[in-house]
């Protein structure tokens, strides 16, 4: 594909100090690769850029969940059942003046003599100072490197630190949400990669070869899209043997999600193939005696990679929402595994919810992540075809 020089190039050539450099000869002026154009267009979409930063943050939390979590997400502390969130304070005001020293207030526990219910009162007298790069409980970074370094932690390891509060068993919600990010985001990514493989192969074959195979896949796709997804997912998920290990369930769930999720991607890929099949340069490649594989990989795929990436990125939030719904209903990932849906299962009961509304924090994580992904997907869609006006 030839790059058309900018319309104003004769003028700039006249005004340029060196005078006689033609932008068509100079390799850099006025010629940008397709990906540079896409990047430029994407960066104009302000909401998408902000969302990209948010997603990067989520990605960081997922990769370094152990480092970010001040407490072990599985650590049960009966003393702190349903402890409310402590506000983080950064500027410490003492008699000596102001200083940057993050702290939280400690708890006072009052036990109701009749109902034996514990009520937590934030005690403004007790300041729990926090230190950065604190060494406490051990975990494995990336599942490989054993370490006990954490971003933040109370100066005295025994002091409580519950930024998002504690759950029914006194486990730290903040750490649990961080660990849930790991599982929930990866389910979305792995599921989309699986459906991408299915969609590209099936949709590509249907679009390139056409004929009966195309007709058959079209029928299958129409059929799958006409089904109510959640009940069918549930049926497949319920058929999983209960004795499976968490890892097996994890892959089974992602497989189930992609089993119904590939149709949209296949549709996009097929449409692109059909559109490109009529292009002159594809016909030229074919008449030059290129094999099917070479025509597809060398000539056609580069023309629609950006469209596939867009479709895939728009499919990720759907996967995450589906996993969350399945796990929430108890048919997806199961309790020792931490995902956002599993965490929200704790919030099912209205009375628990009334005592501990902070159990809904994973829900906020879902909404923010899905919103950000939708915006990034929208931005990509607008940027995917940089040659369109």
């Amino acid at each position: 594909m030839s790059i058309i020089p900018p319309a104003d190039s004769p003028d700039t050539r006249l005004e340029a100090p060196s005078g006689d450099i033609d932008p068509r000869i100079d390799g850099n002026a006025g010629t940008e690769s397709q990906w540079q154009l896409i990047r430029r267009r994407f960066s104009k979409h302000r909401l998408a850029m902000i969302s990209l930063v948010i997603l990067a943050l989520f990605g960081f939390v997922a990769l370094f969940a152990g480092f970010i979590s001040p407490n072990d997400p599985g650590d049960v502390k009966a003393r702190y059942t349903f402890a409310p969130p402590q506000g983080l304070h950064f500027i410490d005001r003492t008699e000596e003046g102001w200083s940057f020293r993050p702290y939280v207030y400690g708890y006072d526990v009052e036990i109701d003599p009749v109902a034996l219910r514990r009520t937590f009162v934030i005690d403004e007298e007790k300041k729990i100072y926090l230190t950065f790069f604190k060494r406490s409980w051990e975990y494995k970074l990336f599942g490989l490197i054993p370490t006990d370094l954490h971003l933040i932690g109370p100066e005295k390891t025994r002091d409580p630190l519950y930024i998002f509060g504690a759950d029914r068993l006194g486990r730290d919600m903040f750490s649990r949400v961080a660990y849930g990010t790991q599982i929930s985001l990866s389910v979305g990514l792995v599921g989309v990669i699986m459906s991408l493989v299915l969609g590209v192969i099936i949709g590509g074959a249907a679009g390139y070869f056409g004929g009966w195979f195309d007709a058959a896949t079209q029928r299958v796709i129409e059929f799958l899209r006409s089904l109510p997804t959640i009940p069918l997912w549930m049926g497949l998920a319920a058929a999983m043997p209960s004795g499976w290990s968490p890892l097996q369930t994890y892959f089974a769930i992602t497989l189930i999600l992609s089993f119904l999720g590939w149709t949209e991607l296949a549709r996009v890929v097929r449409g692109r193939f059909l559109a490109l099949n009529g292009e002159d340069y594809v016909a030229a490649a074919r008449y030059d005696g290129c094999s099917h594989g070479r025509v597809i990989v060398r000539h056609m795929v580069p023309a629609f990679t950006s469209h596939i990436i867009t479709a895939a990125s728009l499919a990720v939030p759907g996967m995450i929402l589906a996993e969350t719904a399945l796990s929430f209903l108890g048919l997806g990932l199961q309790a020792p595994v931490i995902s956002w849906g599993v965490l929200l299962q704790e919030a099912q009961n209205i009375r628990t919810l009334a005592t501990a509304p902070w159990l809904l924090v994973p829900g906020a994580a879902i909404v923010i992540a899905v919103l950000a992904m939708n915006f990034v997907g929208d931005g990509l869609r607008d940027a995917a075809d940089p040659y369109a006006n």
Partner: protein, 332 residues
């Protein structure tokens, strides 16, 4: 038109057959056949099962025959209206169905109607007043509606109602009307409960419908015929309602096809969170206890509902749009 309806009906029958195969596979997936697991669960509860019942059950569902024969027997039963027996609930599946299906359909259909009633005016408003404050508010709410999973919205609604207004919004009837006969009082009680699930179910779909309608209408509004009509002195309101809105509605009718699967999926989750006496909690219980005959019949039924919905939407579209009726585009 008749030929078109006939073609669509034949396709629907084939789709339904394909769905029944999928559902049968789902029923067969758990290891061991269900009579074995039924006996296992009974003996785990300390009850004994007499040999004759077991033999009768195995004979009834042709469990010792090849899979194809089992499938044929199951399908034959379904066609005769015998949906099998729920071991977990100790009742015929058909009985459970007839008890709850009315409420299920009522909730879902009302949700569809409300969804349309909300989304059409909002969609038209935000297209006509593009980039106005109202348009931005609608867009933001729409994005939120897409990003909040139904069950989370139901949970938040439950929390807000309970905490701020002291109202529990679970269920569809107050205790005294639970098993009462239909009367005006019972209906009013029903209406005072049903708004919550309807609100939850309709928002997600409404958010998408608004986006579709807004985009369609914006395309239409920029076409020369609108400009011509305005130039000839037709009032703005009259032009918009008489031409672009009607054209923009066409693609919206074709969305009924996917609106129904969405509504059924979301009503499924919502009904469980809000504890509604619909078919959904039964399906969840059946799935959790691997009561696969009941679950299979329910999934098949939900599939049938969506297929009927798609059929209706196709027929409506053909009725509205002669290009489709006459086989010019999209008829096959």
């Amino acid at each position: 038109m008749l030929g078109y309806i006939a073609r669509r009906l034949v396709t629907m029958v084939f789709t339904l057959l394909a769905l029944s195969v999928v559902v049968f596979v789902v029923i067969q997936l758990p290891p061991g056949d269900f009579v074995t697991s039924y006996i296992a669960s009974l003996s785990a509860a300390g009850e004994s099962v007499d040999q004759e019942t077991i033999i009768a059950l195995r004979e009834r569902y042709k469990l010792d025959s090849p899979v194809l024969v089992q499938y044929a027997a199951w399908l034959g039963d379904l066609l005769r209206g015998e949906f099998g027996y729920s071991f977990e609930m100790q009742r015929p599946v058909g009985e459970i169905f007839s008890q709850r299906i009315g409420i299920s359909l009522a909730v879902e259909l009302t949700a569809v109607v409300v969804m349309w009633a909300i989304s059409i005016p909002i969609g038209i408003y935000s297209a006509v007043n593009q980039y106005s404050i109202g348009d931005y508010v609608a867009t933001i709410l729409g994005f939120l509606g897409l990003a909040i999973p139904n069950f989370l919205f139901a949970l938040i609604l439950m929390y807000v109602c309970y905490n701020w207004f002291g109202v529990t919004i679970t269920g569809l009837f107050s205790a005294e009307y639970m098993n009462a006969r239909w009367s005006l009082d019972r209906f009013l009680d029903f209406a005072s409960h049903v708004w919550a699930p309807i609100l939850v179910i309709s928002t997600a779909g409404a958010a998408q419908l608004v986006r579709v309608l807004r985009a369609n209408l914006l395309d239409e509004l920029n076409k020369p015929y609108v400009l011509t009509a305005r130039a000839k002195g037709l009032a703005r309101r009259k032009v918009i309602w008489r031409y672009p809105v009607r054209v923009a509605m066409n693609p919206l009718v074709s969305t009924i096809g996917w609106v129904l699967p969405t509504v059924i999926s979301s009503s499924f989750v919502t009904a469980i969170v809000l504890n509604l006496p619909t078919l959904s909690p039964i399906l969840l219980r059946a799935l959790l206890s691997q009561d696969m005959y009941l679950a299979g019949a329910l999934i098949l039924f939900m599939g049938l509902l969506t297929l009927v919905g798609t059929l209706i939407s196709d027929l409506l579209l053909a009725w509205i749009d002669p290009r489709i009726r006459l086989g010019m585009v999209g008829a096959n």
